[in-house]
Symmetry: C2
Subunit: 179 residues, 2 copies
Amino acid sequence: MGLEHQGFTIWFTGLSGAGKTTVSRLVEKELRARGCKVEVLDGDVVRENLSKGLGFSKEDRDTNIRRIGFVCELLARNDVVAIAAAISPYRAIRDENRARVGGRFVEVYCSAPIDVLAERDVKGLYRKALRGEIKHFTGVDDPYEPPLNPEVVIASDKETPEESAAKVIAKLEKLGYIK
Amino acid sequence: MGLEHQGFTIWFTGLSGAGKTTVSRLVEKELRARGCKVEVLDGDVVRENLSKGLGFSKEDRDTNIRRIGFVCELLARNDVVAIAAAISPYRAIRDENRARVGGRFVEVYCSAPIDVLAERDVKGLYRKALRGEIKHFTGVDDPYEPPLNPEVVIASDKETPEESAAKVIAKLEKLGYIK
């Protein structure tokens, strides 16, 4: 255990199906292989364990994202790499979390055209949202605010998950957060 | 950093005013002095950061305590000493958290006669509860189920906080969790 603070936060944001979970799991695997302690706070896991009862209004989404930020802070300041993978549609709350964890915050924007995601529609959610069977669906009838200055942009319509993960790892190396 | 898992959970339970926060902070200080990484999840802090909107029904209390257990698990498996300090009145949920974190769980029962706590009444809450101005107040009109086999029992009406903290530290040494 070094004397220096080793933790940081990687924050995946983007629409449903844009690769957040898949790429975050590959990044987790690589970081573990390099000896890092890592926790992935996936949107679905967090909704179950920290935010049951919250819905998808702006207020409830903000609360959910703030809770993930709180847990990332606890982990990162104890030398853990905290990886959040949640739609987190609102820029202000992501930036609030960035400020909260105190600087070692790597925002990964999972970018993909919504028509590609709607066509791929792995979970069948876009079809339901477009039919109006699901309300408050980000990108369909709920807003998504892309990051203005993300540390990494990945494009899941043009890259393999492995290529995207490699971009994240390269950025972490460049920042000096990992060797 | 050793190869062995270093984290564990210390769970303070007991009525309001029974010494949970005070003693947990002394234990935190001593553990930090010994080089441990420590986080205290205090009831009030958790209500603000993880459980805003929850009330004091049995269901809401259970949800709150499960969330603390989830975060303790995340921390403890990453070599952090997670200290929970929350009334946590229901035995079943405390035991659920004990099972969840997988064994390295030290339950500290902060025991004190309710008439002593009501007389001391540091926050003025017992007076309000006894007048009926606060509902669902543990020990007054809401139940408290003491642990059956806590690792440590402290008695804040008979011991100084320093004496209580020393008992916890001695137990951790005896269990081999700290040196």
